[in-house]
């Protein structure tokens, strides 16, 4: 027998996850266009691994396997991780990272709804710490690469590590602008000099800036669909832009402009798809602002002063730790109560 309310009108969890996946499509398309169709291999590999891992653990934990497999949350994690990994990373990196994300970061904590940390970022951070060499070898955008790989060649590269004869690894990889900027600044070059090199584009990295724009479009769709609230992306983008602007204005030769920070690395993916993970994020409106601002600040600090070219993953995980505190101290005023 039912009890009130008898009527409901809510999207299902599955629909929410589906819309997130849909919102990633422009970004994936741009990614494939800029870097190569190999991304589909990585995405597929991550998806299969995620589903198998999820199913095994649900079975072990005696949870309804089908219900939770079809909630699509594992696929969202898989795609976010795949998009964060360097393309052409060997297959086992993808498998290991996805397994870690689903098994350790999600299922061992109780599955959907119970993970305190963003599973994709846990997977990414585990790989980055364990295999730094592989995890920092990024492909060059196709426009910059001196050799082009076909889909089969990309497939072989990912699964066997073997390049077609006559093509060296250097021909298809390059330093990312974030990385390059960091190393060149240490060599006392100025920002102006550094950013005049070919790997820099209109605002950020050549090529990847377009992917960022595509993520932004997908993110706006999510806001319009009320899947994510405006608080998180707005606070993240504003804070990152502001902090970069302040440093840039103080010392333009040393600190690059805000647009570069916004369009480079995983900034846009982070703003709309990573920090917006509801499970590991804060729940209060004010808390969301603080959380996103915190991620932006830590990301900037790691980018500028840290040991890694990008800092999104660590920033998100560090702020995940603060979520209970943030939530507790940003409770909105209840109707009829004093603050």
């Amino acid at each position: 027998m039912n009890s009130s309310p008898y009527v409901t009108n809510a999207p299902t969890v599955t629909l929410i996850m589906l819309k997130v996946l849909l919102a990633l499509v422009p970004g994936i398309a741009a990614y494939a266009w800029i870097y190569g169709t190999g991304i589909f291999i990585t995405l597929g590999l991550a998806t299969v691994t995620a589903l198998i891992t999820e199913a095994i653990f649900l079975k072990i934990r005696q949870r309804p396997v089908a219900t939770h497999l079809f909630d699509l949350s594992a696929i969202v994690t898989a795609w976010l991780l795949a998009l964060a990994l360097p393309l052409f990373a060997p297959w086992w990196i993808v498998v290991l990272g996805t397994f870690f994300a689903i098994a350790i970061a999600k299922q061992l904590y109780g599955g959907l709804g119970y993970n305190p940390f963003n599973p994709a970022m846990i997977g990414y951070a585990a790989l980055l710490i364990s295999f730094p060499a592989i995890m920092t070898k990024w492909p060059a955008p196709l426009v910059l690469a001196s050799a082009q790989l076909g889909f089969t060649d990309q497939f072989n590269l990912i699964f066997t590590g073997i390049l077609p004869p006559g093509i060296q690894l250097d021909a298809i990889t390059s330093a990312t602008p974030l990385d390059y900027l960091k190393t060149q600044l240490m060599l006392k070059h100025s920002v102006a000099e550094i950013s005049s090199t070919a790997i820099f584009g209109q605002w950020g990295a050549k090529g990847s800036e377009l992917v960022s724009v595509a993520y932004l479009l997908g993110g706006l769709y999510l806001i319009q669909q009320r899947i994510i609230s405006w608080h998180l992306p707005t606070a993240f983008i504003t804070t990152l832009a502001l902090i970069a602007l302040v440093f840039n204005l103080l010392h333009p030769a040393q600190y690059i402009d805000p647009m570069f920070h916004l369009t480079s690395g995983a900034a846009m993916l982070c703003a709309f798809f990573i920090i917006t993970d509801p499970v590991s994020g804060p729940t209060t409106p004010r808390g969301k602002l603080y959380f996103a601002a915190g991620v932006a600040i830590i990301t900037y600090l790691i980018r500028v002063y840290g040991g890694y070219p990008d800092g999104v993953a660590f920033a998100v995980l560090l702020m995940n730790m603060c979520v209970p505190l943030i939530d507790a101290y940003t409770k909105p005023r209840v109707f009829g109560h004093q603050n």
Binding site: V7, P64, G113, Q338
Partner: protein, 624 residues
Amino acid sequence: MNAIIQFLKRLSSDAHTSEQIHKFHGGIHPEGHKALSNLRPIAKLTLPEKLTIPLRQHIGYIPKIKVQVGDRLLKGQLIAEAEGGVSAAIHAPTSGTVSAIAEAIIPHPSGLPDICVTLTPDGKDEWTPLQPLDWRNMSLAEINAKLRISGIVGLGGATFPAHIKLVDGTPNIHTLIINAAECEPYITCDDMLMREYSDEIIQGIEIVKHLLGAKKTILGIEDNKPEAIQAMSNACKAQPDIAIKVVPTLYPSGDARRLIHLLLGVEVPHLKRSTELGIQVFNVATIRSIYRYLTYGEPSISRVVTMTGNVNSAQNFEVLFGTPLMHLVAAAGGTKSDDTYFIMGGPMMGFNLPSKDVPITKAANCIIAATDAMFAPPPAAMPCIRCTRCADACPVNLQPQELYWFAKSDNFEKARDYQLFDCIECGCCTYVCPSNIPLVQYYRYAKSEIIAADKAKEAADVARERNEFRLARIEREKLERAQKHAERAAGAKKEAPKPEELAEKHQDDTSDQDAKKAAIAAAIARAKALKTAEAESGANKQTQNTAKQPEKQTKGTSEQPAQDKQALIAAAIERAKAQKLAAAEKSLTPKNVEKVNPAVEAEIKKIDEIREKVKMTTESQTPE
């Protein structure tokens, strides 16, 4: 695209009304389904074969029954009169004979039976002589006394006796708010009432305003009732002090606190009543009942009920209280299918009727004939993903996702910290939950657990106080007995306690340290004395063990060297007796008893008073 258009529409409508309307947080837009039942006028029901009239149709004490089986009653005649502070009278809805006074299932979620008067109508529908009141020339006290026997309660659903809201404890009311929001889907009884009886409502408002001494009146009505708005506007053209404010359709605008905020921008503070801010709220239907009573002398014997949902001809009916549910269903053309169950109230806050054989009562604003096709049972709940749609929808601005977590883990203290008791159980959170979590049920559970725990604690406190009182009494009686013994003993052997020894004893009493030293000295002396004796006895040992208590008498006896065994035993017995007496005296002087006794009694009285109060407040909650 649709969403964008809707958003722009909402923006423009906000701009239109923003000067007058103060939005509250959250709220939802469930489908109204109002056209099902508001296309036909209010119909009158035929008399049923019998009426089952529950005595308890309101919040508060059960009224005192004044009829017996076999009595012939006229329409409007008193069946039961209000008893106690919060109570309401019950009247015969038609003329007929009392055929039974027995327990029957009443329309309550518990499904428990309650005492009901069964009236078999004689078909004449003959009124008892009615006495219209010349309320303009009556004192407030007189009117209130009359209203107390009117049987009128809040017809918006809370069923709080109206006379209490009208005069008692409502001194400085400046604003009267008429709740005509009717925000729940399906319900149209107030809508139809306003369309058909707008004049009576306006005159009722005049009466209530006069009784309260309110300066202005605002009628709050949702914009999905254009005909009612039109009717009310026409009816109050001559009354400039009655304002009709149209509020956007948003559930739960009809919640009294939400409506006050919408209309006045005032948040009624936590734990306060709106009357403390000079605001009183009445439902339109209650207003009409008050009008009918004061102008025509008609007590509360019927109401307008929306009969809607899966029936062939959904409509509003003027229904006598006690009318069997199925009589009403039949009047609406019967149900369309056999799998129908019945909900009393709206789909957001209503409840399943426990049986098809329940009567219509004062609280029944709407009966929905429901099927699983209309209200699909929710699919299995998924884990909460903390999406905070619930928090966005909560009209009280609570954090439902946190409350759910606390309720689920029985972390009730935390739930209380997060203001669980401010939850109005409107169901907005459940309505928007993607994981199909029955959130409201969790809150109801947590609330009932906390209330039960509080009651258990209170009962334990009372029991503890009672026990303390009992122990004090036992000790007092013991002391009294001991005193009697002492007096008798003093009379028997006068030479035993010497005056100087008594003085020494008092000194010992004042100083514990000295007492200990003295006791030790006494013990040593006794031990020495014993050593000189030839034999040892059990009694002797006991004396040594208990020699901590300073005793002049024992000291005296032990200092005398014992010559033989018998003398020693006799002395030991004497010592033990004296010790017992002294111990009793020391632990509880008469002064001490006097202090404990009335204090405990006062405590118990206080607790009893608090209990009575708690009982009253829990029963009289949600007056609006």
